[in-house]
Symmetry: C2
Subunit: 98 residues, 2 copies
């Protein structure tokens, strides 16, 4: 499963961009149960996108920066491909239009 595929999870990541937060805080903005958000967090954890720090009964979540770099690398790689094929297309069109 791709953890980034779900909009709720992307929103959670975005929220964590401005600092760590507890489960309850993360859940607050959403029109769904705390349990549902707890599950989403678990998915993000399994994907190693966030990490958890327990302090008594409160769990603080924060972003884990590593996998993002991998994602960016993947996109960059793809981009090279695409740009390449765009160039080829442009050349082809130029020839055709003469």
């Amino acid at each position: 499963m791709l953890a980034l595929a779900d909009p709720t999870r992307r929103a959670i990541l975005q929220r964590l961009g401005s600092g760590e937060a507890r489960v309850t805080e993360l859940a607050a903005p959403f029109a769904m149960s705390l349990n549902a958000v707890s599950k989403h967090i678990r998915v993000l954890e399994r994907a190693e996108l966030v990490s958890r720090r327990r302090a008594g009964r409160e769990h603080f979540l924060s972003l884990n920066p590593k996998p993002l770099d991998e994602a960016a690398a993947w996109i960059d790689e793809q981009r090279r491909f695409w740009t390449q094929s765009l160039d080829a297309l442009e050349r082809a069109l130029a020839e055709h239009e003469d």
Copy 2:
């Protein structure tokens, strides 16, 4: 649905990176029916990640470069967030270790 979420679809995109291809060609490497691949292609089309050129009974698919730039922009934006919070974390750790 996030079109990039499926590994088959990512493989198709990667294949299209080296030039346009027909449905049958795209389907060949996969251990699934032609129909299944045809469906994946439709998803990629709806997401405007690929476009189709019909020539007789053959359909040629090729990459559509626009949405990739959007994706890259999104990732870059996220990256800024993450880097930021990493810095904060490092500062916090430094203080703590004294």
